[in-house]
Symmetry: C2
């Protein structure tokens, strides 16, 4: 019996998709410049037992498995390889429990982030991790990439909210890592090893997530500066102040001007950088925002706007939201995701400017400045074939720069296929070898997303 | 050449201790009821290179290595085994850097927690993890056990503050895991795997730790209740309120009465439970404490005391600090460390009472109620040999109860030698086997703390 026949027999017709058009539409995630193979089949299990059956069958047939959530990832980690089985979590989409008393949610991996957020908010609770893709991306994908987002400057990243996981191993066996309690130190932290492992160690079939009480109303401030240095210095001062903003975003002048060209936001032509901050502490937010405004002014802000209500806050955040459409209008975008210690941000931004000049490409630099996590975005003309290779060289040079400043090649997007060659450099040969051996413990035959992470 | 001669030759006389009295005094940590072997030698390296030399030599000679900090652990993880080398981190005690801009400290493992806290406070910064042993225990030991403490209810545990580690593997090779930046998702999270691994995966020689701005002045409230149920319900309401107390401690009536017998704290004879809470938000602490007091009253507190200054706060915390001396006066203490979801705390406390009655021992129940992490403490008469075996049975029964309530056998003390038989039960056979294989990746010959964690 073929693998497809076996799975059709055990999971039913509806769970097994071989339509070439559907398969073709599932080959890629949102990453640019990553190749993808032609999958053999797309399977949509609806229970842990069915995931076990899929993995047992794939182990027997030696067929590689690529697990896919909403395919909103930016590094190609969910891309197909030739002859693989695509394991979609789309039918594992139930919120199993929201506990007010324990402040946890128990969910299947296919639950969309925004659906979880809405469900817990109904009970006065809050699931903070908010990657930009939150209206589409799934909790399983968020766990696979240890996704960040805007509010992690205050609340932390996905991994900080994962208490326990049910994971199906390549063998089809199931483990339940972690625990529902807040604390726990029994044995090695396998939960944190699975988080961010990009589908290479197992398939998450259930997650117990920590929640917090719902935040109060938020208010926003935005400040423009004449230089990059002033904006970065103001951001550092905000972080040193103990205010703990719930969002702290930076746009360099180049990005701010691209947004102003796209839509009139009243940004001056000589803007050097723009800082957007938020406090979500309800009645205390106005005082927080006033203090942030005071700090920005002290560090040379030429204009500071403080929102006094939700609508004004939304307008001030608009500039941040327009980054992607504004840049995409200018050409093909290649979004990087490096993170450096905050003290190196000016060096990073200046270095990125030099790299742009050297390779004759535009590099825009928005980012989560409170975490030192920037998204230098190389933009080039889609009709200029030579520009593409210059852009890719610049992309690599930016990662080298990040590493040379004590940072990382990826703050929140992951390695996937896009950055495998640089991972070896970040880890060094000894840790790289160790990490490969860790994968072998979970997946001795190398069937789980085998062309990702490692070259 | 013998191992001792080789290490004396390469590290010098002072680093290699064979005096039997010194060795004898270093056989144990603070755990009760754990056996310890007779070590071959105690070695005190003073650099990463020297740690590498020690591990290379031990690998060549096949001598097991037990790494020791201040030996304040409570599970026997630092206990010697026969013929082992004790690797003391006492000379690796330098604070290498405190960066205000990046809010990080870089330290060697032998730095005492309180020394780090004092050093960073001088720069207006704060290292939150505060195990009760903080005035003696080392950062290396805190990392090895993923230590918790009083203030982790607000700030998190040790692992939440570890950004990067330098680790010497059993082979003598060095890896540098993690990164100095706030975020980073390049490869598997080996840093979190090392945290809490109790010296079984490698020897940490340097740690980059996240810091926070120094907290503001703290104020304390204490409330007495007639029953366990009322105190637990009030604690749950405080946690649900969004106040985020910087400390939330619980004492059951039995413990409260033992303290009152030890020193007059004005606790009534019919006290059912006692709750102590703190807010460290300076000018806002008084309002927080008033709100906590209001919640406690609403949940049936018979008396609520609100401190109005630091001295009154200290007095209210005194009861918590007197737990150990008060209980030790009553007999031999066997301290457990289970954590359960908060919704199971009443079931846990009632079950512990039943276990005490069944085995005819007293079990006191203080704990970090905000995290659901309780320290049921079995106390028995040191002159009654039959009591010891009943106490050990009760100790096991409490862990079984914790597991049956969806909790863990250890919230912050670790497995060490004390709880190896229960670890297998918590993890189950598949994850246990996987965890053993993870150890083998780091330590193929099984030389690093080989008699710990796993039976």
């Amino acid at each position: 019996m073929s693998l497809i026949a076996r799975l059709t027999s055990s999971l039913g017709d509806k769970a097994v998709v071989t339509d070439p058009d559907v398969l073709d539409s599932h080959r890629n995630d949102h990453a640019s410049f990553c190749t993808a193979g032609v999958p053999l089949v797309l399977v949509r299990p609806s229970s842990t037992a069915e995931v076990q059956e899929v993995l047992r069958a794939c182990s027997e047939y030696g067929v590689p498995v690529v697990t896919q959530g909403a395919r909103t990832g930016l590094s190609g980690a969910a891309n197909a390889l030739d002859g693989c089985l695509l394991l979609s979590t789309s039918r594992l989409d139930r919120i199993l429990e929201v506990s007010v008393e324990d402040q946890v949610a128990v969910v299947q991996p296919g639950v969309v982030n925004s659906a979880l957020s809405a469900a817990v908010l109904e009970k006065g609770l809050f699931y903070p991790p908010d990657p930009s893709s939150w209206e589409m991306s799934t909790i399983g994908g968020n766990i696979a990439t240890n996704a960040g987002g805007l509010c992690c400057v205050k609340y932390g990243v996905t991994g900080d909210f994962v208490r326990a996981l049910e994971v199906v191993l390549a063998s089809g066996e199931v483990i339940r890592t972690g625990r529902r309690s807040v604390k726990g130190v029994a044995g090695y932290d396998v939960t944190r090893l699975i988080v961010g492992s990009e589908g290479t160690l197992g398939v998450v079939t259930e997650a117990t997530l920590a929640l917090r009480p719902a935040p109060e109303a938020a208010l926003t401030a935005a400040a423009t500066f004449l230089s990059i240095e002033d904006g970065i210095a103001a951001a550092a001062a905000v972080m040193a102040s103990g205010l703990r903003p719930s969002l702290l975003e930076f746009l360099d002048g180049l990005t701010a001007r691209a947004i102003q060209d796209y839509r009139d936001m009243g940004l001056p032509a000589d803007v050097g950088s723009l800082l957007i901050a938020q406090s979500d502490r309800g009645p205390r937010a106005a005082a927080d925002v006033a203090e942030i405004a005071r700090i920005c002014t002290a560090f040379g802000a030429v204009e500071v706007a403080e929102a006094s209500d939700a609508e004004e806050s939304r307008l001030l955040l608009e500039a941040r939201r327009l980054v992607n459409p504004a840049l995409e209008l200018r050409g093909v975008t290649l979004v990087d995701d490096i993170a450096v210690p905050r003290s190196k941000l000016v060096a990073l931004l200046n270095g990125v400017g030099e790299i742009g000049a050297k390779y004759d490409v535009q590099i825009y630099c928005p980012g989560h400045v409170g975490d030192g996590n920037m998204h230098p975005t190389v933009v080039f003309d889609r009709d200029d074939p030579a520009a593409e290779s210059r852009a890719l060289e610049a992309f690599g040079a930016v990662m080298q720069l990040g590493l040379s400043l004590g940072g990382t090649i990826t703050g929140e997007h992951g390695i996937g296929k896009l950055k495998r060659q640089w991972l070896a450099q970040e880890l060094g040969p000894i840790e790289l070898s160790l990490q490969r051996q860790l994968k072998s413990v979970f997946d001795p035959a190398g069937l789980l997303n085998p062309d990702k992470l490692f070259l």
